[in-house]
């Protein structure tokens, strides 16, 4: 034997695997992750409990805070199901049929990702506000949309419009139409085909989109702050209430309320990871993959459908 036995599974280094470089880079990145991502999360918890658990409990059970939590939950309860129905319908129409304007529709659905929430809020003001398109009609009919729940729901629907659709469209595009066509040719109705053939194949991606949509609805600040009117105890959602408390110099109360939303964010991340293990959120063209919770890419796997 020319050489002594060497350790098992030894393989030549790939690039960037020199120990100094590798360990140094990992260390730098981990420190930055701690400073940039973990520290903001940690300070929420630290601040929320800085006056003790009793004060925390008192803060989150405060009447106005409780009402803000209720407003946020109510908004999500209305907006998320509507958005889900829209997302499924849009994905079905776009992936199961060819019709003129399909590509344009894809682009329009993703517009809300690119538009600043403030712009969205201002835009809604010019539809339903007093000086808006329907302002006079709404006033004479004595209907209140802005500075009330309907306005908050509408603004939430705008900012989350693409969430469910963008998870389903690439997946359903990749799955093609063969299964649905087979089911239909065997005599299944459209509903039957959807519930027994399509839905089982997209359920994780659908849930993924719904969870991300919910997180955004509950956390939306900019658009809602324009249309809600910020009326304490009436039209305040949780993020708006946090701002109010913060500017009232009740920082601990603000962080107590914020800790609820931060917990929601952590639950969302855990659910996201769990669903990604089941394959959700993965069907994208590699170079075009958009980020998980926001971002304007709405991609399909059919080469012909790349946007102009």
């Amino acid at each position: 034997m020319a050489t002594a036995p060497k350790p098992r599974n030894r393989r030549p280094p790939r690039i960037g695997e020199k120990p100094i470089f590798r360990n140094g880079l990992i260390a730098i990145v981990l420190v930055l992750v701690l400073l940039v991502i973990v520290a903001p999360l940690a300070i929420i918890g630290v601040q929320a409990f800085s006056k003790g658990a009793a004060f925390f409990a008192k803060s989150i059970t405060d009447r106005d805070t409780a009402h803000a939590i209720w407003m946020t939950a109510l908004t999500a309860l209305i907006a998320v199901p509507i958005n889900t129905v829209f997302g499924v319908a849009a994905a079905w129409a776009i992936t199961k049929f060819d019709f003129p304007g399909r590509r344009l529709l894809l682009v329009v659905i993703e517009i809300p990702f690119s538009v600043s929430p403030i712009v969205a809020g201002v835009a809604y003001l010019f539809v339903y506000g007093l000086q808006g398109l329907f302002g006079d009609a709404l006033q004479s009919a004595d209907m209140k949309i802005l500075f009330a729940l309907p306005g908050i729901v509408l603004a939430s629907l705008f900012v989350t419009a693409p969430f469910v659709a963008r998870e389903l469209i690439p997946l359903m595009q990749a799955q093609g139409r063969d299964l649905e066509e087979a089911a239909t040719s065997l005599g299944a109705s459209g509903w039957r085909t959807f519930f027994s053939v399509t839905l089982p194949n997209i359920k994780w991606a659908l849930l993924y989109g719904v969870i991300l949509c919910n997180a955004r609805v509950m956390g939306e600040f900019g658009a809602v702050s324009v249309v809600s009117g910020n009326i304490r105890g009436q039209t305040n959602t949780l993020p708006l209430h946090i701002e109010l408390l913060y500017h009232d110099y009740n920082a601990v109360g603000a962080f107590a309320a914020a800790s609820i939303l931060a917990s929601l964010a952590i639950v969302t991340l855990i659910a996201k990871v769990a669903l990604e293990r089941r394959g959700a959120g993965r069907v994208r063209r590699p170079a075009l993959a958009g980020p998980g919770l926001a971002g304007p890419t709405l991609e399909t796997t059919e080469p012909g459908m790349s946007k102009p």
Binding site: K6, R8, R10, R11, P12
Partner: protein, 341 residues
């Protein structure tokens, strides 16, 4: 450059891919590593290149122990199975890459001239400015070869070089590669699972099974004198009949065959479908025809012997017999190996 592998062992996690392989490749030789998938042939090739390190054993380039030389200093040309052409570089840039990153500085003009020369060698003049995605599979294969040759490698290594191509392109490229090898005389080792490719191209064929060399020799040696049943089967269609060996004679249905060197006891008799003569009567193994398959240049006959063993053989297209015909089989060029248990 002569290459020598000295009892190489390689294990991936728990899977032992290569079991103590020793092999010598003479300078200027063209050698095929032939075997089914999982036989360890690609792992051996990658170890020669330095893309994997052996757990035990050593690799020598000439007299130099190359086992621990890093891949980038080993001076091998490697053609990857799917070519691994850089998709963002033109054909010309792909070929020039190795010269541009080389320690020996070359002028731009020198590099350009060498690229042109290599493009002529692989018959791709004029495609210098195309991208890999814009040329055919056979053309990509030749670009990959030109890129590997550009750095004047001591050894040329090819991993399933024709695996991804159609049959026609494959045959043409095989002959062409043989010619290039004759012109350049670089020691060349290539991996294939296609026995026709190995026999067509190589000076010497090394047949591998489960990480071990089962036979190495010229195409003539491995074809005419297979060492064992695996080689016999792997190189082409083969019939197998149960036999019993006593004192150097194998007996099948009372017919005796020469079996010098095979130990007494149960054995197997192998023969190629072309090595059968069918007779209506006379000496031979009695059999009945089950089915006749017509082929453009021959007929393939499926038959069953009196003791129920299936045999396939080829005959001239004029073969007149049909299903249920009875007769006897005379077997030419039989090979007897001890029974595999």
């Amino acid at each position: 450059m002569k290459i020598r592998l000295d009892t190489i062992v390689k294990t991936f996690d728990t899977f032992r891919a290569v079991h103590g392989v020793s092999l010598e490749i003479e300078s200027g030789e063209l050698v095929a590593l032939l075997g089914p998938s999982g036989s360890g042939k690609t792992t051996i090739l990658r170890m020669v290149a330095g893309l994997e390190y052996p757990d035990e054993g050593a690799i020598f380039f000439g007299e130099e122990n190359a086992t621990d030389i890093e891949v980038r200093h080993r001076g091998v040309g490697f053609v990857f199975q799917h070519y691994a052409l850089f998709p963002h570089m033109t054909i010309g840039e792909n070929i020039a890459f190795g010269m541009k990153v080389s320690k020996t500085r070359r002028s731009t003009a020198e590099i350009a001239e060498r690229v042109e020369e290599l493009l002529r060698l692989v018959q791709l003049d004029g495609l210098k400015d195309r991208f890999p995605a814009q040329i055919s599979g056979g053309q990509r294969q030749r670009v990959a070869l030109a890129r590997a040759l550009a750095v004047d490698p001591k050894v040329l290594l090819l991993d399933e070089p024709f695996g991804a191509l159609d049959a026609n392109v494959r045959r043409d490229l095989r002959r062409w590669l043989r010619k290039i090898h004759e012109d350049l005389g670089i020691t060349t080792l290539f991996v294939t699972h296609d026995q026709a490719e190995a026999l067509d191209l190589a000076d010497r064929v090394v047949i591998l099974d489960k990480g071990r060399i089962v036979q190495a020799g010229t195409p003539e040696e491995v074809c005419r004198a297979p060492d064992n049943a695996f080689v016999m089967n792997f190189l082409g269609d083969a019939n197998r009949l149960r036999a019993t060996v006593t004192a150097g004679r194998a007996s099948v249905n009372e017919i005796l065959f020469d079996a010098a060197g095979v130990p007494d006891g149960p054995a197997e008799l192998f023969f190629r479908p072309a090595d059968v003569i069918w007779r209506e009567e006379g000496a031979g193994i009695p059999a009945v025809i089950l089915r006749v398959i017509d082929r453009p240049d021959s007929k393939r006959i499926l038959a069953v012997t009196a003791d129920g063993q299936h045999v396939e053989f080829d005959t001239a297209p004029e073969f007149p017999f049909r299903m249920q015909a009875r007769g006897t089989l005379e077997i030419l060029r039989p090979k007897v190996f001890a029974a595999s248990t």
